[in-house]
């Protein structure tokens, strides 16, 4: 984690996955699929017209998010949490091909206040581990 002035903090988590990037991307690309691969998110609804996704975390809190990018070429999914608790949030998931059947998945969180970046950022590692598990199981099948 690095802080460059103010209260904005950035956290980057990454994982190598023994699967091709399209398999990984297929797991991530659907906005309302997040409860399947992000531990602690129990519900997600998505309105494609407003591009607003509302997630419900297991502690019972609803958090609205705006989906910014779902780019199949770059294999990049970007969103921002718009809940008032955050003065700034930007979350990006990048799926990058390293070699055949070898993918790097990176989950970046930049947020203010910094404490929330830490809390979300810690959760994203669990998400990457789950994405890896799902993708590698798909490959085995």
């Amino acid at each position: 984690m690095n802080v460059q002035g103010g209260c904005v903090a950035s956290i980057r988590q990454q994982i190598r996955i023994a699967a091709d990037p399209d398999t990984v991307w297929d797991i991530i690309k659907v906005p309302e699929s997040q409860p399947d691969w992000f531990p602690g998110i129990i519900k997600a609804t998505y309105d494609p017209e407003t591009r607003i996704r509302v997630i419900t975390v297991s502690m019972g809190v609803d958090m609205p998010e705006e989906i910014l990018t779902v780019d199949p070429t770059l294999r990049r999914f970007a969103y921002k949490i718009t809940a008032p608790l955050y003065s700034f949030h930007y979350g990006i998931i990048d799926v990058i091909e390293i070699a055949p059947n070898d993918t790097l998945c990176i989950y970046s969180t930049t947020a203010e206040p910094e404490v929330l970046a830490l809390l979300i950022g810690a959760g994203t590692m669990g998400a990457l581990e789950k994405i890896k598990e799902i993708a590698e199981q798909k490959v085995k099948k």
Partner: protein, 524 residues
Amino acid sequence: MGRKILFITTDQQRYDTVGANGGTIARTPVVDKLAAEGIRYERCQPSSVVCMPSRASMLTGQFPTTHGAWMNGVALRVDAPSFAEELHDAGYATALIGKSHFEPFLDVFGRFAENSFAQLGIPTIEQPWFDGRMGPHRGFDHMEFATHGIARTLHYGKFITEEHPEYLTSFYPNLNMELNVNDMGGGDTGAVQAWSNDIPRELYHTDWIADRTINWLEQQNEDSDWFCWMSFPDPHHPWDPPKSEVGRIDWKDVPLPENYPESASERETLLDQKAAHWRLWYDGKLVSNYEAPKHWVPSSLTADQLREITALNAVEIELIDEAIGRVLKTIEAKGWTDDVDIVFTTDHGELGGDFGLLFKGAYHVDGLMRLPLIWKPAPSSNTSPAVVSAPVSLVSLAATFMQVAGLPTPEYVEAGPLPVDNDDAKQRNFDATITEWDSDLFGVSVHVRTALTNEFMLTRYQKGTVHDGSEGELYNMIDDPLQRVNLFNDPAYAAVQAELDERLRSHEERPADRATPGIVVAPV
């Protein structure tokens, strides 16, 4: 039938706030009586001066660099050793009622078991441990949680939310909108974290914890073996005891702490002798750790604010003492007194105005490091009352509980049972303790190690954000009990420094099956 154990902890309580230790502000007759009838330790140190690593050390009998919960916000791994597991497996009923804090409180995604039990509805949940044994968690059969104020994920928070919602906003808001420790002032003087709390005394968490402990004890069979950890969140800040009780102590009559020079220039001269982060924090230029309010500047603390905080702190301590008294009456009514060991301590201290500072952090001086510890062995054990002046550590508690229960000392613990007197301490080489500090959060890292004997305290700062690895503090604990004169690198004390350095080196190189250091997932 063996000896039963009541383990009482408070949170962030100074040694000198207990009457038996010379405290004059709070009245603590119940704890003083335990001290008179038992063993009072004059030099008990924590393994760490913040909650999570210290509490994990109590449970595991290991230092933070062994158990892996090296700073607040790092969960103790779920398969970490636990003396409660040993007791459970030996047939003890085991309970933890109050503040646990082996896992982070700030838990947006509900990842940690401690934050889920209250929502699951009942305090005793039959679910498998990590290895398939049954019980709620970490060797405890029964857990009911509380912390400072209202955390709705915990049992006390749920109780207030559901049964007394009118008091939900009575407590001081621990965190501000940034989720940093709040710097808002209150009380009569505008003192940071001082607050007037409308909650009736009988609903305050101190009394709730005593009530729940009594309830659990009353469910135990007359001849059953039990261990109960009754863990009060007070007198940790915020200082927001029930308003009805605040009049017990008039803050205007409270003397200033011995180690609080009223003259700002004298405070600054003392701070300038110490490592750089002391003065940087005092001046508001660097908050080295999350546990202190990010936007509070210690140099702004006034003498009257300190008096008011000291008084509120003492009120909270009196409430705890009275709550303990109620629990002891239950034990007496059950006819258990002769067979119950009682241990009273805290997880770490509070700066309490020393050098003009409050709260806690990487500041290894007596305010944070010298803890109240009293052990009243069961009268049936025929252990004589004693005062132990040898340095001991909270790391010894796990082995002590094993010994009381008649169980062998587990191989994983890093300190033997507490000595019962000074001869015992001498025979078993209780001559030094070690305290660790590691923190790395939001771009600020601090790493500290301290070795303490009865005569000297050496603190070494490892390389970090504001330390280059060459800094240190050395205090003569006999001539300078307030740790005001830094003798580090004084040629006259070279031999002493070398000896304590060797103790630190031995600690770092000790053979131990160390857990991989955990990941910081929250600030607390």
